[in-house]
Subunit: 364 residues, 2 copies
């Protein structure tokens, strides 16, 4: 028998708990990927994604892969052998961008930052005189740090700007067009409140014109996927069988977010982040991410002296059916990551996780 | 408002209707991708996949992509610049294999067959003296044709054998180890009775040892994914956020199939295919796929003189909320594809689709 769980409070870095509307939509009847009802669903989903991306890009769609697949799509469509990619690295996902870009054949110019610090736009922009792409993570999931994408976009010159918005989309301010993002990828399992499995993706007209023709990947070729989503041509070409059920979940979550109002949803995430930071400091804990660059969706906090990270997390899991995240890399045992995303960006969720953590610190 | 459907009878080439157990599992609480409950779930899912693949391969797992992503994973991990790939082409998915292999840098030796005919193993084996891989589709979704994989496997020599089992896995006999399949990929949305979004994937030890190191794709790198699924090493390395909800659906469907018994499920698919073929011929229709090579999971039938393919399909959709598939390529308007997969491999489903089609032929 598979394990049965009545609930899990997901306060880790993601997946977070999903919006009930998304979960309900998953159980709707399966429909064909060429069904007129699905075509309408995909169109509505792409329209909703444009709103949360802050873009008018026709080529905005849910890729049939997770956020890391979206990262791969961003690079495989923009860089090929010998192209220069300047990558800002201030956490694991910046590191991963370097690796993915390298595999695509790019010459990677890596601009390292201390983990916990935001991207230094000036250094990134000065790293190479004429890169094909500049890439940075908007909201670093590994460190809980927010970076300024707009300054990169305003000064990118001829480069294409790639941005990772996995932990910002649907919860934090995200203005792809205004900030000059050319290629953006994200995930569904954070602030959008949908289970993982799709990557919301957007490509500017400028990036599409300068894309790699005949890229190494067929599955992630934006030249083929654009026709599939029907965005650019107005007609649809079969590419692969869309994950229809996951897209129904995403559509329902987007409907819910837009019905509440994107501004209101973002305000809810800001309030939850602020309340969590204040509460953690009241417990005597020290925040990890640099002040002024802290994500409202994902808070990083130092494990206090004398506490055992794994024991505390185990206590929360056993006693509260609650997950918080460990740190990453060198901070595996010394940092926790606490997400307040999607439905968990609420006063009740913050009160619950703070109360549980206080007990765990005392008793674990 | 999104469109509301109470039901859709999916008798196309896929997705088919899902098993109710799979649909129910989708609405279970979301859990973290590092949660012990999920780790157990992934292990059980991989074990179930080994059974339906007919393999003992430790590296058997659900890729976080659709079947076409699985195809890409098969080639990107086995061929690189200048490697020779012999590809049997007897339908759209053989064609697609050529394109995917070419993008991976392979020199493709294409062995063409008339659509509707099975793969001629002798011709494929004679096509090149020393290919790196030989690739063929077990169950061609575009034509409804079953091909003999075992003969290719028995005579592959030093080559690695890649097989597409998208429309056979979970419904038709599939014996990866016995047949000598080195790399197999499939989909969930056909006989397994799960919505689309994952690709059941299996890699032999022999293929793993001869895999491309540092392949162009990070997302689909089996060297990294093996560690992720924990199969080979016994320990798990974070790679990407698993689509936890889709995997819960797949686990539930596998449980259901194995509880019924794989033999019984296959017998049900055989009976449904035979009944559908007989019923279509009683209606005076002519089958498309070559006799002796007809899929039990997906039947292809010629559109009779005087009937309008699209009008008949539209009639079924409007009056029965029922989908059957059009043909592919040159057979777009002259062939229908009727799937009896997963829960639709039943006498009731066959009676329903035959009755509906009879009415549509008379009235559309």
């Amino acid at each position: 028998m598979p394990a049965i769980l009545t609930s899990r409070f997901l306060f880790g870095p993601g997946p977070g708990n999903a919006y009930p509307e998304a979960m309900a939509a998953l159980s709707h009847p399966v429909i064909g990927h060429l069904d007129p009802v699905f075509i309408e669903r995909l169109d509505r989903t792409c329209a909703g994604l444009r709103t949360v991306w802050g873009t008018a890009n026709t080529r905005t769609l849910p890729l049939s892969a997770t956020g890391s697949g979206g990262m791969e799509a961003a690079f495989v469509n923009t860089v090929s052998d010998g192209d220069v990619a300047v990558v800002a690295v201030n956490g694991l996902f910046g590191e991963r961008m370097c690796e993915v870009a390298r595999r695509c054949g790019a010459t990677v110019v890596r601009v390292d930052h201390e983990w916990g610090q935001p991207v230094d736009a000036e250094r990134v922009l000065a790293a190479h005189p004429a890169p094909k792409v500049i890439a940075a993570v908007h909201a670093e999931t590994s460190t809980g740090v927010l970076s300024d994408i707009a300054t990169l976009g305003a000064n990118k010159g001829d480069a294409l700007l790639i941005a990772d918005a996995v932990t910002s989309i649907g919860g934090l301010e995200l203005l792809a067009d205004q900030w000059g993002i050319d290629v953006g990828y994200a995930g569904t399992q954070k602030c959008l409140g949908v289970p993982p499995g799709l990557s919301p993706f957007t490509v500017s007209e400028r990036a599409f014109e300068r894309r790699i023709r005949d890229p190494r990947s067929w599955y992630l070729d934006i030249g083929l996927l654009g026709g599939y989503a029907g965005a650019a041509t107005g007609s649809r070409t079969y590419h692969h069988t869309a994950p229809v059920t996951m897209i129904a979940g995403l559509e329902a979550a987007l409907d819910r977010i837009l019905a509440e109002g994107l501004d209101a949803v973002q305000a809810r995430h800001r309030a939850a982040g602020a309340a969590l930071r204040a509460g953690l400091q009241e417990l005597g804990l020290e925040l990890f991410a640099a002040e002024g660059s802290r994500l409202d969706s994902l808070t990083t906090v130092k494990v206090p002296d004398g506490a055992d990270s794994a024991a505390v997390r185990g206590y929360l899991l056993r006693n509260f059916s609650m997950e918080i995240g460990a740190g990453v890399g060198a901070f595996k045992d010394s940092v926790w990551r606490i997400g307040t995303m999607g439905p968990n960006a609420s006063p009740a969720a913050v009160t619950l996780v703070l109360g549980a953590l206080e007990e765990a610190l005392a008793k674990a």
